[in-house]
Symmetry: C2
DNA sequence: GAAACTAGTTTCCTTTTAGAAACTATTAAA
DNA sequence: TTTAATAGTTTCTAAAAGGAAACTAGTTTC
């Protein structure tokens, strides 16, 4: 779930391939960018708040993705001593640095769709 | 293999989710960014040149990914009337616009690794 | 005529990813 | 006392992704 080791060393640009792999493994999948985007917009949110905001996500998936994001220090998880207990998730400062990358992903996607549709 | 339709309409920001999905579906997977990056560096390349540059890719995977990139107008495929026939793959102008996005993916990946390693 | 190069395709198999449904356990409200 | 909310976990299943090996088919070199 953390950073992976390289298995073969072929080119002198291994560090670039490694950086691509690190980033893409964190952002790939159906829900991870949506989770980060939701926390960017909504700030601190509880588990069920996230679940409701992310229309259709299964609790298992949300739980697993949140754990992976926490291991990678993009979010923090804080258990509140309320009754019933609540758990608050927030982006770290490091997690917030994904803001501009996600914005560029959105922008390229828009440009791309225009390119494909208008032929 | 082309652009997907939305199935549900939940928020007013559907176009953003759609743009993220479009971009990530094109870039996700083990080889696609590597193929694009190889063509960015190497310019026009033949099938076997690409296969050799992309250490370890199976011909089936390379063939499938190239078709998907072609459908999305990121690359062109040109059959040359040589003997034996050769096939040349190049990035389109649209494909080349991924350059800066990939650069940012690499940069974020480097920053991230430092963040994780140095605690 | 056999081997090798071109660019793939086909088949089979394993791994990864995701979803649905049911369940745990604590607490509070009606 | 039943219902509902909190935050998950467990189990089972389906679909997607990826890899290995063999094969096609035309041409060229040895």
């Amino acid at each position: 779930m953390g950073l992976q080791q390289e298995t073969s060393l072929s080119s002198e640009c291994i560090w670039q391939l490694r950086a691509i792999k690190d980033t893409m493994e964190l952002l790939s999948g159906k829900w991870k960018i949506q989770i980060i985007g939701t926390l960017l917009r909504g700030g601190t949110m509880r588990f069920m708040e996230l679940k409701r905001a992310l229309n259709g996500i299964a609790p298992k998936k949300l739980s697993n993705d949140l754990q992976e994001l926490e291991v990678n220090k993009l979010i923090t998880r804080e258990v509140k001593d309320t009754k019933p207990i609540t758990v608050e998730y927030s982006l770290t400062e490091h997690g917030k640095t994904l803001d501009s990358l996600i914005a560029e992903i959105i922008e390229w996607g828009c440009t791309h769709r225009k390119e494909i549709i208008t032929g």
